[in-house]
Symmetry: C2
Subunit: 339 residues, 2 copies
DNA sequence: ATCCAGCATGAATACGATTTCATACGACGC
DNA sequence: GCGTCGTATGAAATCGTATTCATGCTGGAT
């Protein structure tokens, strides 16, 4: 049986309220008794019961995180940043992976039940009823990485449209006009926006991308290989491919490898997220980099603000993105003013 | 203000105890009132206060997981398995990454404070005082992936020594005797055991590995590249390298790539963990595979058993490992009976 | 008819902390 | 010397649930 604050009080010869006062460093307590209590705390090896404290304080110290497929290395990077930021704010992190179908439902129940103080979604679909309900109840919720327009909650993203444009302009500046874009389903904001940015920037330069050069693709390496084999095996293959995330780009690179298509001579490949593997020598993938650390930090800041001050207006903070040029494309990106 | 079970009771015209009885499906309650309560629950949109419930039941429904560096893709794989297994047991998961220095301390405090029902360590050092203390107090703790001999708690691992042997015997069977082993500090059980298995199997076959062919190495790609450049740049370079995990192997492969050393002709490389990237076409790394899914499943089973029945004897369950042969080495592994 | 078992249910208690309320005491100003 | 104020502290209320205890009632067996 664990020792309670009442046990400590008995040892120190004071009342339980005084122990609590010392613990909370609040209210007046004479220095001598204060010392006596501190000694008793030490002697008994007291550990506060977090459940009881949470129940009374209506604050659990736990933040729920609903994350996308954790086997996509982008998410661990983001989680790492979130973990760091949360630990800095003395908060613990509960994790739900979106692979489990009911994860958002369970997460929302957790916050409704007071088991979590707030929720961070790194992935979300507009139709998710649990998310909708949580937002309707004005629970402290922050979307990071994904954005859902019209959803009344804080959202922290990077400018995916601009990122897509960046790649398009880079391709164009080097005369790569036979382009394709892989992935970017309408349901997922990141992919959709990235593709839109790319496609519209191409359109503005008079280049229409035919449907067969805009294949849909699961966001996994293996799915991308299959898509790539088809795309690159076409009688009139593209000379540059923009992939809406790095895992897909790796798959396209591997498809090119299997088919003996030379990268970057015959084919340029660009990805998105700039996960660490993109920089490895034999991958060497040009990719759009998001400021992951900042995204995480700001998301946590937003959540803290929302928890302490629920009536602040909702923020939509959007970071820039930059292109990390590597060997899967050749040539430095054009200077900004040349665009 | 959230609705409590007392509110529901008022709506249903019964006492709070009856509501609780319906909720818990325990004790006798007449079908008609039961229906009335269920309707009231529905109407009021009641969500139980998990803190209060946890406090009363002395069970939080939360399991703490202390994980190794989440940016090493092995850990997300393991976490994924753990998340699945925990969700199946209707448990939530709190995550601490070991990158934060105090993570194990905080995790242990969480369980001591009743905020978690049990702890799963996927990484741990023998000297960790928080871990020691938790074990001494017979708190429900399971080590998975790591093993610490003499520590009285459940441990679930795969046979890392056998895995190292497997690689050694594979190298030997194909006449690769100029071998090196990279990584495997004494502090980390997995690496140490893998190296020991490899080194001792080599020794049994009369092959002593000189110290300069046993470099230490951080478990990251970039550190491994530097180690690899040195190792392979040596006037008398090895013809086969065993790396204690895949990230390190990727780095060694890249070092070979930079130096123009042909893999697998001039150099064989083998890794450990068989993370998904190992199977990608342009990585194509031979690696020792652990049954990650089983490790995770059994770890959770162990923990559940320990939580419900604290006095069971401690188990040390150890799974086998197998070699996934790919292009970074050439030649099928020898049949088992040839070893 | 009586008694007892068992059922349905409400009242009360416990969980362990925080916080409010009440009280006793000492000092100070008039 | 008395009222008042501030300080130090203990007693009690509170958070929302699960569970135990108490009670009235019904039905069947003797």
């Amino acid at each position: 049986m664990s020792t309670t604050s009442r046990d400590v009080a008995r040892v120190a010869g004071v009342s339980q309220s005084t122990v609590s006062r010392v613990l909370q460093n609040r209210g007046n307590v004479e220095e001598s008794t204060r010392q006596r209590v501190l000694k008793a705390l030490e002697d008994t090896g007291y550990v506060p019961n977090l459940q009881a404290r949470a129940m009374r304080m209506r604050r659990s110290g736990l933040v729920g995180v609903v994350t996308g497929s954790i086997t996509n290395p982008f998410y661990p990077e983001l989680l790492d940043g979130l973990a760091r930021a949360l630990a800095g704010a003395d908060l613990r992190m509960a994790l739900w992976t979106a692979d489990e179908p009911a994860s958002s439902t369970v997460a929302v129940q957790a916050i409704q039940g007071g088991a979590a103080d707030g929720l961070i979604f790194t992935t979300a679909t507009p139709s998710d009823p649990a998310l909708r309900e949580a937002v309707a109840q004005h629970l402290p919720i922050v979307l990071v990485n994904r954005s859902i327009s019209g959803l009344h909650c804080d959202q922290v993203t990077s400018d995916n449209v601009a990122g897509g444009q960046l790649v398009a302009e880079y391709f164009l500046a080097h005369g790569r006009t036979e382009v394709a874009v892989v992935g970017g389903s309408d349901l997922i904001s990141t992919g959709r926006e990235r593709r839109q940015g790319f496609v519209s920037a191409m359109a503005e330069n008079g280049i229409e991308i035919p449907p067969h050069r805009q294949p849909e693709c699961d966001y996994t390496h293996d799915a991308a290989v299959n898509v790539g084999l088809e795309l690159l095996g076409h009688p009139n293959p593209p000379s540059a491919v923009f992939c809406v995330n790095d895992l897909v780009a790796f798959g396209i690179q591997d498809a090119a490898f299997r088919l003996g298509v030379a990268v970057p001579d015959a084919l340029w490949v660009a990805g998105y997220d700039d996960i660490p593997m993109a920089a490895w020598d034999r991958i060497d993938l040009t990719s759009v980099r998001q400021p992951i650390e900042s995204l995480a930090k700001v998301a946590v800041e937003c959540l803290l603000k929302r928890i302490t001050n629920p009536d602040e207006p909702y923020e939509h903070r959007r970071f820039g993105a930059e292109l990390a040029v590597r060997g899967s494309t050749a040539g430095a990106p054009p200077p900004p003013d040349a665009i």
